[in-house]
Subunit: 398 residues, 2 copies
């Protein structure tokens, strides 16, 4: 039986294909420090877990397609605290950020239309694009200048009759870059000039360092009809397994259409929404401590990387990733070699090769993404192993 | 800003558009018996709720994209008990049956391809088809003969170069019909002859009455490469809010492709999967009592309907719906009239007009779907109000 072309074409997870090597190493008793995935180690807030413990409905029933009203109202408060004034109807609760991105693509673009995305970008955008039958047009950004937003001229080279939106990830996975208000105003002007939606993935909104302030696409005046924000509780509350996100826009027609997509799949999970709801009421110290912890991890990883000969990287300003340009040809080969062959006291390190984060063939081959999602003791050990491994690899393969 | 064509075209929930009338009636203090939705009133098993209470992970982490292994293995046992032998890799856990249907459509068909579905069908298939950019070709079935499977000739009139699959709902929502093994063998032969997938929505698998035995598409020999089964815990365990389903096929290439779609959205919710897992180990009495209860409800509703002059319907063999052909012109108008104007002791009844379950324009206009998801006392009251209301409506509008 012949499968659909899209089933054959959809990108396999570039990280997943390395898993057999990790499984093999683990089976051999090797401890792996995982810097390859965005799964935080920070405990989920007990206030959230407590909601699961207290769940007392007799029937675990469908909720409304737009999300439980109690949670929508809490989200209005959450965004108000960030300086974003919203109405309940501006928010539809989604099944994690994944569904929010898919809805945004489907509502903004038809089959065959194009969405412009700065690369490197979160690799699963490719999968969502396949599901939505749209084409991602990548616009390359560079480690050397901190993955800065490309110029208007670069964008306009890509904008054509099929362009329907520009999509940003801010703060950026995998880049760690944070767009300034000026950056957003510039891309907003482009979107208004060319009648494009501006989709902004802000799931790392709180993860900005050195006293920087995050700017949401929803804060740009005059962009109400264009701005679509996608969000998720996964990273912010270490609640990746809850699968709760949302799509937010002040464009009423767009939200009415999104609701029809949401109605088809009935509703997001009920208990998980109630659990996510509790997180909105965590004390301010929760994020203060969280960001302090991540900032010190970032400092540690960045300093360790700077200490390795031939490694180039810009200090990330946000999210919890750093992209390192390595003095080798093939970062994926290095990752596999570390898993298959390199051990220090029977431990090794796994990172994510960056090639899969680029849509332009050939880019990112000598780059790795490291997620600083371990405690500092483990991170220190991991970076030591990483440095020693890289030294050894260069000796053998260089 | 112009939205995508599909955002404008996607079907609004035909049931939802009646909600303002229900909200208004409730605001006026009227009690509504809801026979319009498939939300069971049966309590969710305490064994399932207990899993939420006992959840003790420190970090609510991502699970595997294919689902938690513990749950996949339990599902193998669940299906074995139904006489269906499977391997773990034949099952991918999905975010409810909704995602399973969407995945099945996307893997089987390309944009613009066609899937043949007997109508009336579950109205949200339309939304999934829009999301998957495929076309549903309806093949009409008729209340008069219990919505029997159409003849091979009828199917072959619709099978063309763009046909990629036949999709069945068995037991049927909204028809209540159950396909026999002979029915399935016949449609299986058609699928083999014309190289079509056979997608079978079996979320009501246990809901068969009068000692009938349900036959799964996975039980048909020689259909391994063609058969795709979609399933959900929602109805079976009164757990609609958990959003846990699965897609099952022995076609290895198809499952490998489906896994890539699943990887893009990362994973189904973690705690809900653990909760669904507990349901697999419920004692046999759970379903015995459940089916006995639903069968007696069906008998009650069916007998009450048979007692109303001019109403035509076949006794449903499965699921928990019955379609009633009414002696009026416009069933939707009747539903709205009941909500707006008819009260008996300040109570009224809401049912689902069937027009939205048909893809062929004009069909189903005088049909209603009643879901027997209330206890028998309430059902009896509801059916009394229904009969009196219909009498009154005919007097006024007839």
């Amino acid at each position: 039986m012949k499968l659909s072309k899209r089933a054959l074409d959809i990108q396999a997870s570039p990280i997943r294909k390395l898993m057999p090597h990790a499984v093999k190493a683990k089976a051999d008793g090797v401890k792996i420090y995982h810097l390859n995935i965005g799964q935080p180690d920070i405990p989920t807030p007990p206030e959230m877990i407590e909601v699961y413990h207290q769940f007392d409905h007799k029937v675990l029933a469908y909720g409304p397609s737009q999300g439980l009203e109690v949670y929508q109202k809490s989200l209005v408060k959450y965004y108000a605290k960030q300086g974003i004034e919203l109405e309940v109807d501006d928010i539809i609760v989604t099944i994690a950020g994944s569904e929010a991105v898919t809805f945004a693509m489907m509502v903004a673009a038809n089959e065959g239309d194009e969405i412009i995305v700065p690369e490197p970008f979160y690799t699963n955008y490719n999968g969502f694009a396949t599901m939505a039958s749209i084409t991602i047009k990548p616009i390359t950004t560079y480690a050397e200048n901190g993955f800065a937003l490309p110029s208007d001229e670069e964008f306009e080279k890509l904008i054509g009759p099929k362009s329907r939106a520009i999509m940003l990830c801010n703060p950026g996975n995998p880049t760690g870059s944070v767009y300034s208000r000026e950056d957003l105003e510039r891309v907003a002007a482009l979107c208004k000039k060319h009648n494009l939606f501006l989709i902004s993935d802000e799931v790392y909104r709180e993860f900005v360092y050195d006293g920087l302030k995050h700017t949401s696409v929803l804060e740009i005046p005059g962009l109400e009809e264009h701005a679509i924000m996608v969000d998720s509780v996964s990273k912010r509350y270490s609640a990746c397994g809850a699968r709760i996100g949302c799509i937010v826009s002040r464009n009423k027609e767009l939200m009415a259409a999104t609701l029809k997509f949401a109605q088809a799949r009935l509703c997001p999970p009920t208990v998980d929404q109630l659990a996510a709801n509790a997180c909105v009421y965590l004390p301010d110290e929760f994020f203060e401590e969280l960001i302090e912890e991540y900032q010190s991890r970032r400092d540690l990883v960045y300093e360790e990387l700077m200490d390795i000969e031939g490694v180039v990287c810009k200090k990330p300003e946000g999210a919890f990733y750093v992209i390192a340009n390595l003095p080798i040809e093939d970062a994926e080969d290095f990752v596999i070699w570390m898993l298959d062959h390199y051990r220090l006291d029977n431990e090794t390190v796994m990172a994510a090769p960056c090639e899969g984060f680029y849509a332009t063939p050939g880019l990112g081959r000598n780059e790795l993404r490291l997620a600083y999602i371990l405690n500092k003791d483990d991170l220190k050990k991991a970076m030591h192993i990483f440095r020693e491994g890289l030294k050894e690899y260069k000796k053998i393969k260089g």
